[in-house]
Symmetry: C3
Subunit: 359 residues, 3 copies
């Protein structure tokens, strides 16, 4: 798993010495793309977590840069508006000294009707080696991966998947709930699997439209969490059936429309963004009613365990799905999620780049 782009730089690549993967460990990264988290084994999730630990150490330095990806081209092709995910990937790539090309598809000639396949081929011919892509159509990055010669990273596709968000959420929970003992276990080679065993984690809100939730279901069930999905019935459609099927495959999660049942004794509560458009679609009577019945308020949070973590993938509609005092309260780890997002994306870019055949 060495990713030294130039032998002469070996000494400078601190990441390798930080040791994401000790030699005694057999786990190696074998995926060329990161399209979703559903194919990642527990050991692979653990590898991402430990590589992220190394990247957090890089971020803590006065100059948070390593030359690992110097001369590599990371292209960020976003067909939907985004600040945090786009900037997070950009900062992650620059911290690894990659060259970054931003393409906001809405305002580019992509709107001239060129097919996705042609755009991906063009972007590769322009030098892209790692392609970060967001698209409103579920599955679009899978199509891109079929034609792209480098690595595709899914930055969010339709309602389907948002793998780096799930990884940063897992990292944040693991860091906060694992405590000292977790770090010790990690050094001892423990895997993420079982780390969250018995921990009650709630995802609250608009499950139906959430790629964040879908990816989180994979990683959190893989980690042994006692996962609960909660929201209004119109925004939970299909999840009961999924839960039944998953249960057979050993991935268990509960589905409920009762906030009280979901939040009682929870260790983690993750609120999802409610979009105004849902009202026009007849899925919600009003944002005010949603806030009254499902909003994460201080009163509701009191049902959870003392010190339970409050999470949100952002951007927040404060006063709707989450109360401002909860969002800014001591239990909130929302800004930690953002910072961990940079470290996780550095880790993923690093791991994927390592699978590429050197030119």
């Amino acid at each position: 798993m060495s990713l030294v782009v130039d032998p002469a730089e070996a000494a400078a690549v601190a990441v390798s010495s930080v040791g994401a993967a000790p030699e005694s460990e057999a786990v190696a990264w074998r995926h060329r793309h990161l399209l979703d988290v559903d194919r990642l084994s527990g050991a692979e999730l653990e590898l991402v977590m430990r590589t992220t630990d190394a990247m957090r150490e890089v971020l803590a330095r006065p100059i948070a840069k390593v030359p690992t990806l110097r001369g590599r081209q990371v292209t960020i092709l976003f067909y939907e508006a985004s600040t945090r995910t786009r900037v997070s990937f950009e900062v992650a790539a620059k911290n690894l000294s990659a060259d970054v090309v931003n393409i906001a598809a809405a305002s580019s000639s992509v709107s001239k009707g060129e097919s996705l396949v042609d755009t991906v081929r063009t972007v590769e011919a322009l030098g892209a080696q790692l392609l970060v892509m967001r698209h409103s159509v579920s599955g679009a990055p899978y199509l891109a991966a079929e034609v792209f010669g480098g690595s595709v990273l899914n930055g969010g596709d339709g309602w389907h998947a948002h793998p780096t968000q799930a990884l940063l959420d897992l990292y944040t929970i693991r860091e906060r709930l694992g405590g000292e003992s977790q770090a010790a276990r990690s050094r001892a080679g423990a895997t993420t699997e079982g780390l969250l065993a018995g921990r009650k984690i709630v995802i609250l809100g608009d499950l139906l439209h959430s790629r964040v939730a879908r990816s989180n279901i994979w990683t959190l069930t893989a980690s042994g969490a006692d996962l609960w999905l909660c929201g209004p019935p119109t925004l939970l459609r299909g999840f009961e059936a999924w839960a039944s099927r998953s249960s057979v495959a050993g991935r268990r999660f509960q589905v409920t429309t009762s906030v009280d049942e979901a939040l009682r004794d929870a260790d983690v509560v993750m609120a999802l963004r409610i979009q105004r458009e849902r009202m026009a679609e007849g899925l919600l009577p009003s944002l005010r009613e949603y806030a009254a019945r499902y909003g994460l308020t201080r009163e509701r949070l009191a049902l959870a365990r003392p010190g339970a973590l409050v999470m949100h993938p952002g951007p927040m509609n404060e006063g709707v799905e989450i109360a401002p005092d909860v969002a800014a309260g001591v239990q909130s780890v929302i800004t930690d999620q953002v910072t961990n997002g940079v470290a996780v994306r550095m880790a993923v870019l690093y791991l994927l780049a390592g699978t590429q055949v050197p030119a």
Copy 2:
């Protein structure tokens, strides 16, 4: 006031050797943010001017780069369209070797309704250490400064303030009016205060909506200039009262609707941009009438002293507030303003970064 990010680079950081602040001088930069110029003392203004002198020397090199801010992240968050100010900050930051992240809020997920406070917290969690911000609401950068852990630089807020524009205007006037003797005085430790004593400076046009004018009033009166504000009565509302109050505090300026009175024997004439929207608001009968009565033409400029400076913050509506031959004439220092803007912003980024506690 050393800002060497890595001891090994000390030799390369020419700025420190150029000597913005000789050791014999007691003035140190003590502001974490640059929100407006109203808190800057005469000595502090002088410190900015002399640091800008050093940055001008950097700009004159074949490779106009110094490693001063290497590894620092400058985020440029603009809620209003801008070319010159946005690019000026970007070039300034890159010349200091900082990493630059651009966020055009109009086309980003900021439009999804996230609060300003949440956006600022997110931007910080993404690594921003210096945040340059433009916002249509007066005071927005002050709110940002309350929650941001690094330094906020106001790149223009509503009608309120545009501090780097005022500083580049001051630098341009000082450089052109001071001449040799000014440079000598500067070396001798003279302050900006009194440097413009007796110099008649006119700001002409739409004062009412101008953040440029409001910030310039502070720096120019602090420098002892004989300052005149001139425009149609509808675009001067409130300035008479301000002039009365300021006079008590020792900051004197005149307000007049007479172009002839204002321009007579002026040393500097700064024309402000007139926006078409003002007509819809009933503040101007027509752009043609404005041009006829208040436009800076060659005839009007002849009322000023020979060689009087012509300035404009840009972008210009040529033929409206300024005649094309005046804008491109020998007395125009308009492109000097742009170049000095890069140097002033390098100076300000440098001074603010120096107040940050090293990580």
Copy 3:
């Protein structure tokens, strides 16, 4: 033709050692701007081709970067949406280690009505040394070149010219048709002139609105190709007259509305993009009819010589001007065009920067 920005870096500048211009050769680059290809002599075209060969070698390295333009500022000012050309120039400039400033004029304050001349003066005052510009008005870059102190590169102006596209097309054809013998001739000092002698090259489609076609006409006739222009009569208006005039000047090309006549025994077929807007303008009955009568299908391509090259400047409307199986077929060099575009733009930036007086 040395462009070593710092003597200490001489050893690192591999380009010079790759030898774009051996000393035995008298040809030097003498143009400050690249506005179109019509002023380039055959020897100058050959110089661009050979410099591009050197840049291709740089692109083949594990780290495709040279420090040639370190500290130089390349500003990309685009008044029209673009992905491939904008990104291609950006990647080319970054590969040469230049600092790149992107200005998308549609979303910037340029829309505030500032004149083009003022914008160009401002961009220069902000530090631009090489200005890449795309504008919807034919001739706009010529106006920019009159006031800009550095070098202007036309990235496409109206229907008029797209010189770097013509150069990358020429490079791609030369590379593919020349084969081994071409490389040998090149080493022996042969010029591009005559290289394509007797080769039948067809440009097929909407000639009328195509700046790509207009620039290609110059370079392809200069190279001795047997050039044919083919399309519906409404999209060929004026080219007959041009062909007559050019013939007198020694630049010969044929104009025909017969696809069969054009494609028969062709060595190269370049399909041009058809825009939907042409129907509204009454120039085309329907895209379906265009596809049926002029689309480049496998059947039509069979009229050409075996192995004839298929080209397209992109972005493609697959199923309209070109069939998907032809676009993705073995004869297609469309992605080669994109990659060669980066190399050609590196070459052109390098050659133009060399004409600038060192600061």
